[in-house]
Symmetry: C2
Subunit: 305 residues, 2 copies
């Protein structure tokens, strides 16, 4: 019980640290005052677990990283995650008016501003990440490598590819198969988690083999995280989740839970998560430790929102 309280407190502290970094890198809407810039800030400041920058920062620490070069990338990955939500919520996409109990960006600012705010955040993510080149002690090759991972995992071979497959599935009259669902989860959700952890590893100077193990662990964490989302859609409440529950069933959406049942989904999710934790802990043999990182991963499958 003490351990649970402790990890919650640690997550809270680290979330605040991420928020401070985000604030430092977001555009100042007093300097550049416009609806689009306000909508960009509104979207990022609407909250969220800040899981991606936290996983990035903790993977960076796992491999001994301790410089500011990680910070622009932490802000960048959250901007990319946020823009994807802003565009996903649009009427022409999921047509969602609420997220985390707040109005979505288009519901608050109108569609045109929301489209541009999403574009603005995606562009600003690269603008921000590029600032890493001028951080103290930045290794140019590592920064270039991290930028390539960011672009690859966010693009058509990563997150956008997953959204693409998701839309194609919605427009199809055939029921989604398990392998199609896994393709969507791998790209739409796991890709940015992979980017986060791989960038942390690369910037800390981890070798190619270690980065490849991190890519695998992050895949498992991403899928386990997504299955928990599917489970919470069945078991949670509006108050806890900040958005309507049971929406997957209402939309006849095929999820891990509808395909496998809640018990089997839960079992597989624990298996994935434990395997990922095993991969992370095995780095201990090479002298790389980060107990908080494994606790954080454990907490993801017990979360209630």
């Amino acid at each position: 019980m003490d351990n649970i309280v402790d990890i919650k407190e640690q997550i809270r502290e680290r979330t605040e640290a991420v928020e401070r970094i985000l604030r430092a890198y977001l555009p100042d809407d007093k300097v550049l005052s416009s609806d689009v810039v306000r909508a960009m800030n509104y979207s990022v400041n609407a909250g969220g677990k800040r899981l991606r920058p936290m996983l990035m920062s903790e993977t960076y620490k796992l491999f001994g990283g301790n410089k500011t070069v990680i910070e622009p990338f932490m802000a960048a990955i959250e901007m990319i995650h946020t823009y994807s939500l802003v565009h996903d919520d649009l009427p022409a996409m999921d047509n969602d008016e609420y997220r985390r109990g707040k109005k979505t960006t288009w519901a608050q600012y109108g569609e045109a501003v929301a489209i541009l705010a999403g574009d603005g955040l995606l562009n600003y993510a690269f603008e921000t990440a590029l600032k890493a080149f001028s951080c103290e002690g930045a290794d140019v090759q590592r920064v270039a490598g991290a930028l390539s991972i960011l672009a690859d995992k966010a693009g058509i071979n990563g997150m956008i590819g997953g959204q693409d497959a998701d839309i194609a599935a919605e427009h199809s009259d055939k029921a989604l198969t398990l392998s199609q669902l896994l393709y969507i989860h791998e790209h739409k959700t796991a890709a940015l988690i992979q980017a986060s952890m791989m960038i942390g590893a690369v910037l800390a100077g981890a070798d190619d083999r270690a980065v490849s193990v991190i890519e695998r662990a992050a895949y498992e964490i991403g899928i386990a995280f997504q299955i928990q989302d599917d489970i919470l859609d069945v078991t949670s409440t509006f108050e806890e989740l900040g958005k309507p529950i049971g929406s997957d069933e209402k939309n006849n959406k095929v999820t891990y839970v509808t395909l496998k049942g809640i018990d089997e989904a839960s079992r597989e999710q624990k298996e994935l998560s434990n395997h990922a934790i095993g991969l992370l802990e095995a780095f201990g043999e090479q002298g790389f430790h980060n107990a908080f990182l494994t606790d954080l991963v454990k907490s993801l499958i017990t979360r209630l929102k």
Copy 2:
């Protein structure tokens, strides 16, 4: 007359060279077969003057550049220009169904795919430009500098800032002033032309002072180019332009022509263009020459589409 025929032929040849580079860098929709990737290719292949990559390549040559490192950036700038058109044409933005005589991306593929195709092109632009790091003989500092210019001029301080101001103007009940119109043109149109020419200069190793002169010349070329667009909307035909003419008047749109009259607009446009040409020709004193580049700039204000 011979000179006019000659410049047209030279532009045609160079346009084909740009098309070849674009084809080499666009994603292969046979390898990654999906509507979004097809829509990305459709949008870029719908034609266009390829002015931005051409200005980039010719500015690169002006300062003695002769390596392949320019090519990923040429493809990237055209992808960014194209994504901005794809999103601009959306029903929630300008609601245009035709561009260059072809269906716009959303009219052909639907809104959701068009939103993702625009996102995909913006992301792929950075993915592509980052490939410059692995081009033969690439100077890492110059590539990093060129990436920063690309991100800055495409973002909220550049092109997106211009679109933002354009939308705000449309939603305002006050008539647009000349300085507001110039702000929109500077950001929405000139910024990407500045990025193109500045990146050419930076990658060729031009010094900061030269890059700053290029930024100024590109601003003038961009504004002159935009005024010509406004003039053509009044003087051209549907056949020549590939889109409805007189649309500015129909939409009660304030343009350089409505504010200043066609004769004054035309005079100022020539003045801007000639001044830019003067700046470019002055580099001759330092041994930097590119006769085609100045001919190309001259041709922009005599163009009929």
